[in-house]
Amino acid sequence: MNKTEQIREIVFESLKKLGAEEEIGDFANPSMDTRIRKHLDSMGVVALAVDLEELYEDLFDSSVKILNEEEANFMSNFETAETLVKYIDGL
């Protein structure tokens, strides 16, 4: 798997986990079209970001800061799984 595919896998893994905890059916079998933002409030976004940062660090042995509210249009990165994978891949 290349890096983008690895990031896709951790995004899916994290969505499944969060979906089970928060009872969000759309996260049970995520695809790149899965809409994220519409299901999460700000705390949910933070919870997802914290989990993803840990998975990313475990996978790539380097740290990443996914939550960056100072960035313009930050929340648009969480619209779908696809936008989130692209965003993390570009960090």
Binding site: D41, M43, V45, V46, A47, A49, V50, L67, E69
Partner: protein
């Protein structure tokens, strides 16, 4: 020399604000939905003429129903709602309570980590032989810092005071501490005006955020997402450090008492630490987040309910404004 928590008491102001009260004020907001996530359904608030000092006095008097005030030789009062710039609230409290004039008395300014910080200072005083019986008082009236139009914060916070006797006589033994600070987060939980950098400004602008919460720079501002992010990232490693500092494994700690920030955050931390529901506590439905008093109140309630018992090792962990964090293990 061992240092021990001998007793805990707390006081809640008489006035309460229910979620129904808030809903009637904020008709266009869904208070119930917010409350379910936060886990607070009612909170106590100080009256217009009731200050942190008044709450502190009442909490200490409850403590003295079972402990002799004449034994107190040091007072540490933790508040971010002092009656005055000077003198310290602790000095006035000493006089009100009739504590010996030979006792030391200081205020410390800390928020949600304040109890653990105060406990660490008390332990130092007792171990150094400066003091034998330290009265810790956590007293906070954040309601006075919060704009009436700021539902987001009004729903979370409640006012309270707690009083804790720290002593050289054997009761609940205080272990080793982990303390930390990251001032880069200072602006994420702040009352910008009212100090000497930015004076209180009666004409300052009222702003409304995207959630429709209103505030001015004279009021408390909290960036909840950033605070949650800080806690979610920082606290699991603080817990690991505290276990190491006390030569314990996670399984050897019987119970975890975190600062009772809100339900979502505490459940999130528990999940990250892989704690089962019977290993941690959340109980602020009827009182709200009382800042530095959340841990002492939770400790008292757990003791009264028999949730934690003699011989249990309990990890206490406070975190928040500053950013600041502190953690310790106590053996009941």
């Amino acid at each position: 020399m061992g240092v021990y928590i001998k007793n805990v008491a707390y006081y809640l102001p008489e006035v309460t604000v229910s979620n129904e009260d808030l809903q009637s004020e904020f008709k266009d907001r869904d208070v119930g939905k917010m409350a379910n996530k936060i886990g607070v359904f009612r909170r106590h608030v100080a009256g217009p003429d009731e200050t942190a000092l008044d709450l502190a006095e009442k909490a200490a008097k409850k403590l003295f129903e079972e402990n002799d005030k004449d034994d107190i030789d040091f007072v540490i009062l933790c508040t971010q709602s002092p009656d005055y710039y000077l003198p310290t609230t602790a000095c006035i409290l000493q006089h009100r309570l009739g504590i010996s004039k030979n006792a030391g008395a200081i205020d410390i300014n800390q928020g949600c980590s304040g109890f653990v910080y105060s406990l660490s200072l008390a332990k130092g005083l007792v171990e150094a032989g400066v003091s034998k019986n330290v009265l810790l008082v956590m007293a906070e009236t954040y309601s006075k810092h919060i704009n009436e139009g700021d539902l987001g914060n009004r729903i979370i916070f409640g006012d309270a005071a707690s009083a804790i006797l720290v002593s050289h006589t054997q009761t609940m033994q205080v272990g080793n501490f982990v303390l930390g600070t990251d001032g880069e987060g200072a602006n994420n939980l702040i009352v910008p005006n009212g100090g000497l950098r930015n004076r209180f400004d009666s004409a300052c602008e009222v702003t409304t955020d995207q959630r429709n919460d209103r505030r001015t720079d004279n009021d408390l501002f909290m960036n909840g997402s950033e605070i949650f992010y800080f806690a979610g990232k920082q606290i699991p490693s603080v817990v690991e450090q505290t276990l190491a500092a006390n030569n314990l494994t996670k399984g050897e700690v019987d119970f975890y008492l975190f600062h009772q920030a809100n339900k979502y955050m505490i459940d999130f931390l528990a999940k990250r630490l892989k704690l089962s529901a019977d290993q941690y506590y959340f109980d602020i439905e009827d009182i709200g987040n009382t800042v530095s008093s959340t841990i002492p109140i939770a400790l008292k309630r757990c003791l009264d309910k028999g949730i934690i018992q003699k011989g249990d090792k309990v990890l206490l962990c406070g975190f928040g404004v500053g950013y600041s964090w502190g953690s310790v293990v106590v053996e009941i």
